[in-house]
Symmetry: C2
């Protein structure tokens, strides 16, 4: 083999916003395959908010990303060589991989690679609407929220991969869906393209007024991806028995001091409400149920999977930063090579 | 009738800690009874943390206490005159009343007065272990927590009316109960008298270390009466799937600025944990189940109802302040007159 691999390693732990200095772009030869192994050429790498947390040396639901090793993340690619009976050259596969152009993967490792059908859904969508973010939304809805028809459901980061999937799922269950997104363009998109009932532009600084106007009966369900001031504002408008899913807190991930705690958390008491955290990995055994439902919506148009595709591995970590300043519009993926 | 009533009215809304200037002690003649009415002489008035919140002009689960009217609160007393077929002179009664020596009550008003049996349990305990605080603990345990045998359960304000009832109920269900209380005397009491497995003295400033040592496997359940730093510290030690009941936040009730939000709330995400608020009034239809269970424990010694009895209506609001500086030891009641 004379293939040269391009990789991105974590060189040091970011203090606040990650910068290029925290990473190292390296090249190394791809090892020859052993029996049972598969060589995957990664077409897409998934850029997700949780990656920031794993760069810290802190207890979380997964081990921190080790220093000096290749960055971990979701990958989608194609089998280009196989010494495993389970995979054939040409198979499209997704998995939890690492940031490199070529991956050598044990074909027997449970969950490391999953074959996907790209005749109905494009490969990159398996990193978004029918991948980890979509299943996250599905899990939050089914496991935590159990929405009732007519519930007023609010979701932040509404045009993100999780938020837009959540909205489609909630609409399909008869909920009234109000988004929170940054800027008029994103807001218009949620209503015009994604079928939201309404959307609040947080960058206009009128979240409280927007909730009052657009959710006159209050907020029954809030799916929180952002934390910070927006969570605090929604807490002032929840209804009795409201359910809040804590899925993420992107406004806080680069905080160098203490995280901003929700000072209005006593609204949970007043309203007998519930706030609960979820981690999608807990739901692996029902992943297929989620993917099947969402693939159907993608096909019939009830769900759209807008993507923000950045070309080239060398764009990392700059591409990742788009998540934190709200610059991405749709599911952010890094395209390593053409399908 | 020549009876003179002594009353306490709310004169102005406190900014921070309530003071005597916020209240007015008044005297007025007791009105003659109409058909259907009952005259109750109040023996005990219940001093509870929630009363502070009701002094604010803020949305809560109950209307704010109106200015210029008699303070509302739990009462326990005896029927001294009756024109209702439902109550006889000598009946011991409890209810949600107002701060005065004599109350004229409509005998038909649902829930206004409830006859209680004082042959087994002293009258004042119906304001504590077998009253609203005890039922609060029961509700939190049964409705929100559903503890499993062997769960490590932590409760703050451990010697308070709610905390001590909660501990007895959790012990009866096979949990390991660790309290958080202020000072060595209270801590010794929880273990020596109330049957806690251990207790952490928060005034010694070692809550984190105490939790690490006394809950080595982490905290499965936390029943929070205090909020603030203690809630934040417990959040760092919860286990996967932990359940936190938000019952109160006495450390924050006199805050003049923003409430201190739990900056470690993302521990809910990492641990897939749940935080939920409760209000005991929601449980009125099953009040009797709670009272029956707890009266049994009081009788067989598994529960103790320590009281801190302050004599004289004129001691309000000074007596109330004991709740906020942790000076009370046991359920705080104001004795208006002897049983």
């Amino acid at each position: 083999m004379s293939l040269i691999n391009h990789q991105v390693q974590l060189a040091s732990r970011p203090d606040g916003e990650p910068s290029i200095a925290n990473f190292r772009h390296v090249q190394s030869p791809v090892a020859a395959l052993q029996d049972g192994q598969v060589l995957v050429r990664n077409h897409y790498l998934s850029l997700d908010p949780y990656m920031r947390g794993r760069m810290n040396d802190a207890k979380s639901y997964a081990q921190p990303q080790p220093l000096g090793e290749v960055m971990q993340g979701g990958t989608a690619g194609e089998v280009v060589e196989s010494r495993s009976p389970k995979f054939a050259v040409g198979d499209k596969v997704v998995g939890m991989g690492v940031w490199q152009e070529y991956s050598v993967v044990d074909g027997n490792a449970v969950g490391a690679l999953r074959k996907v059908d790209t005749t109905r859904v494009p490969l990159s969508h398996y990193l978004g609407a029918v991948g980890m973010p979509g299943v996250t939304a599905w899990y939050g809805l089914v496991k935590i929220i159990a929405p009732k028809e007519g519930d007023t459901v609010v979701v932040s980061a509404a045009t993100g991969a999780v938020g837009s999937a959540f909205a489609a799922l909630a609409k399909a269950r008869g909920c009234r869906v109000v988004g929170i997104a940054g800027g008029p363009e994103k807001c218009a998109y949620t209503v015009g393209e994604l079928g939201f009932d309404a959307c609040i532009d947080y960058k206009a600084g009128q979240v409280k007024e927007g909730l009052r106007e657009l959710c006159p009966k209050g907020v029954d369900v809030y799916f929180d991806n952002v934390g910070g001031d927006i969570l605090d504002t929604v807490l002032t408008r929840i209804t009795r028995g409201a359910r809040i899913v804590i899925c993420g807190a992107i406004s806080q991930y680069n905080a160098t001091g203490a995280v901003q705690g929700p000072k209005n958390y006593l609204s949970l008491l007043v309203n007998r409400a519930r706030m609960e955290g979820i981690v999608v990995f807990d739901y692996a055994d029902r992943y297929h149920l989620a993917v099947t439902e969402m693939a159907g919506y993608l096909k019939d148009g009830r769900m759209k999977s807008k993507e923000d595709v950045v070309q080239g591995l060398e764009k990392f970590p700059d591409a990742l930063l788009k998540l934190f300043n709200g610059e991405n519009f749709g599911k952010l993926v890094l395209q390593v090579t053409k399908d």
